[in-house]
Symmetry: C2
Subunit: 508 residues, 2 copies
């Protein structure tokens, strides 16, 4: 047995040695060029990229095309059959003698922003440096001048700083460093930067279908999401699916004085509160009929991987400042592998200085359903709709309620659901999956966390469906990045680590 | 008995005749001067008067002072001991040989506005004419040119069009018409226009206390609120009290990605939904312990008056577009004579295009408690706080929650309550009350509705407390005026009727 191990050990060691020398070279190059690297990144962050803002999306895409051209990458904008939607940015590097082709994916669009919700002095698209996270009392500091040391614990705040311009930037920086070092990648590289991920990747399927040949590869590596909360790098083999719904309940046709009609006229905020309450018990378990049906159980390999995921529950509770989690005692890693129902937000009339003594006309909740393998997005939506009906509601999709409807039904809800998409999981024991694990492991001295599925979502099922190609996600952002919310940020060390991860993956 | 009735009948008839001749003269004057009257009113509406906007409040007060000076009324701004709060505008007209003094009250400040919630083309402080109410498909029409007939069913849209610049305007127009007609009022008249009513009249007590002598009178007549929903004029002898609260529940310190943490991290919107749900049953009955205690029952006279109030429940349900009222079958007039708990609005993160897939950090509800005779504002607030505690919450008044608190209590709510004020009721059988009823009745051919208490609130207890003077409310606005909300409006005929009512009251 010992003899059998020896050559294998040597082989790994060789790879390890080669890689760590590679990583060291990349690190040295980065250290000598940090200001230039961050300068390009700050430029990218300064361009508004809200997924629904066509002009900002076009400007962001143009900036990335320029970044790629500066690196000698031939680019092309890929469209589906639907016009006027954000294009994907494609680029290709053919490597002589390479036998495998890998597509590196990130997305350049960002979630909507409400600038009023951001901290003072921090604007979504005028990114700034802070000397620590806001939660740890971080303060805004001037951008480091040339020659000034850059503390890797500093953070950059701005929309998409982590989700997912950091992905675009780290992939392109990894490639640039290899080129500048004169090191040829070991695989053919394709770049694919999506522009509509935050709107649910509505037209991604069209783009994949339209450009099947061009996008042919052995694997898609997805750069999105955070590293493990323990701070360790992670390789993720799947994602939850996701579908958004909006539920709006109606009361009077016009807002009423809460004195003259309070106690008598129905209050839509109270109606919605009761409707939402009926959906989950006090432990956070969803009470909607059949909500947990259809779930495909984990394989043995996946179960073993999950058992090895370091527990971060207590650390996270302390960090996030609460002691009572949902789930009745189940762990975070268990719970993010179940379907979920989350209230993204709700609204009815006004609060604070704008509040007035009225009975509002309607109340609205934005819901987010996460799906696991086996769930179907529209089937899950339908379960929620059925639940709303069993609570006595007449459900319509129309925004304007007719007088006939108002005088026929005691309770009226408008429910609109997006298309959404299902969960996806790549088998952890595929040979190419093992190569990815080795490459990422070679770029760090800590044990890499192997995660069968992320709690978050990406439309990865599309790559299987339209291209029959597996996907593996290799995230880089700090876990406390406020992704999707106000005060989004990235820790600078995470950018540096991310670049090294992707250098290793391009040379795996 | 017949003989006894005869002189009384003759007397009433005489008053009626004198008054209707008065009303007729006033009406004719108004008809000849409608454009000029409305011109002055539109000018008043064009000045922002949000109670928290000091500059707007000062400009509004200056305009009203000018209106009064144009009518030959000597004015004075009355302050309490607190500086930089909206002053009350005072004016006085001494009538030779008059034995009674009446203070005519209205308020010139308005509720906050969220212009985005107003209908297209209608701005809170650029008031416009519509040819009908929005709910009945009304369209914006050009302001009537001189000589053009003004349809009394047209409406004017703008903040405070009804609440309560219409009050200020109608009182001053009634006085102006009497003067122009050369008719002397039968009572000494004092004008008192408050500037802080919509902020809960926080400093009114100081003003009353500071100017006790100046404000001496036999009666305050309050011009605020709507006529009865049946369209009939009403005389109102009391009001509910009112106190506002804000409840904010907290979860994570920072917003979380709903995929990576959904199902595990507590969701404040769901927590608040459950907390609010626990406050009322499905019939709208408040479940908070002791909520309905302390209520002083109606006198026999009041009960009789209530029995005579025309039922408008079905009419109002049809008009407002709902079939299921709160209250489990009790009538509107019964229910507005009970204490109430209304959600004025709630908010957590975002909905609609701004919604993002996050677990919000907090959720806030604005509550409005209406009080009836016997309730005490702070005692009622305390009952709500106790209820929140019994739901497992740690309750604090502080906006920022410390880490120690976060890691000690599973559920945390910040509750802030305003001072509020209690209900008030004037006895309907006072001789001066009977005079008011007669005067209002003389200005209309329909039977006047006598209402022991309005569902709405005004700080009328203060007049009893500081001046030992009764108050009677004589409202003029159309009931469907969207008071306090977006698209506030007044029907022009209600202005005309209101002026006639106040002409009669000044000559009662």
């Amino acid at each position: 047995m010992k003899r059998c191990f020896l050559p294998l050990f040597l082989l790994i060691s060789t790879i390890s040695f080669a890689q760590s020398s590679l990583i060291e070279q990349a690190r040295n190059f980065r250290k000598a060029n940090e200001h230039a690297l961050l300068g390009e990144f700050m430029g990218l962050l300064s361009i508004p990229n809200i997924v629904y803002d066509t002009v900002g999306i076009q400007r962001t895409a143009a900036y990335i095309v320029k970044m790629m051209e500066n690196r000698g990458i031939k680019t092309q904008l890929l469209n589906g059959k639907t016009k006027s939607v954000p294009p994907a940015i494609f680029g290709e590097v053919i490597v002589p003698n390479a036998t495998k082709t890998i597509v590196f994916y990130a997305h350049y669009d960002g979630q909507p922003v409400n600038p009023n919700q951001w901290a003072e002095g921090i604007e979504p698209f005028k990114s700034v440096f802070l000397d620590a996270s806001l939660e740890k009392g971080g303060k805004i500091i001037p951008a480091p001048k040339l020659g000034e040391k850059i503390n890797p614990d500093w953070r950059i705040y701005g929309r998409s700083a982590s989700d997912d311009k950091a992905g675009v930037f780290s992939i392109l920086s990894a490639y640039e460093i290899l080129t500048k070092l004169g090191i040829s990648p070991s695989v053919n590289i394709k770049f694919f930067f999506e522009g509509e991920e935050e709107a649910g990747s509505t037209h991604l399927s069209e783009i994949l279908e339209n450009h099947k040949e061009k996008l042919k590869s052995d694997l898609w590596i997805i750069c999105d999401g955070p590293v493990h909360q323990s701070g360790r790098k992670q390789v993720v083999f799947g994602v939850r699916g996701d579908v958004n719904m909006e539920v709006k309940v109606y009361a009077s046709k016009r807002p009423l004085h809460s004195g003259h009609y309070g106690n008598w006229a129905p209050n839509p905020a109270m109606l919605l509160a009761k409707l939402l309450s009926s959906m989950k018990d006090d432990n956070g378990r969803v009470l909607i009929k059949g909500f947990y049906d259809d779930v495909v159980p984990f394989t043995e390999t996946e179960k073993k991987a999950i058992a090895k995921v370091p527990s971060v529950d207590e650390q996270m509770r302390n960090e996030l400042g609460f002691i009572q989690a949902e789930g009745g005692g189940k762990s975070l890693v268990e719970l993010i592998n179940l379907p979920s129902l989350n209230i993204n937000g709700f609204s009815s009339a006004n609060v604070g200085k704008m509040a007035a003594n009225v009975i509002p006309v309607s109340a609205t909740a934005a819901l987010d359903l996460r799906l696991v393998l086996g769930n179907d997005a529209q089937r899950q939506v339908q379960k929620v709709i059925e639940h709303i009906k069993t609570q006595g509601y007449y459900v319509t999709q129309n925004e304007s309620i007719t007088d006939e409807e108002r005088l026929k039904y005691p309770l009226i809800a408008r429910v609109q659901a997006q298309k959404g998409y299902n969960a996806q999981r790549t088998k952890m024991d595929l040979p190419i999956a093992q190569n990815v694990i080795k490459a990422v492991q070679s770029s760090t001295s800590e044990e890499v966390v192997l995660m069968p599925s992320l709690g978050g979502s990406l439309p990865l099922f599309l790559f299987e469906k339209y291209l029959a190609t597996p996907t593996i996600t290799v995230p880089i952002a700090n876990h406390d990045n406020n992704q999707h919310a106000e005060n989004e940020n990235i820790r600078i060390q995470n950018i540096w680590n991310g670049i090294e991860t992707y250098v290793a993956l391009m040379k795996m």
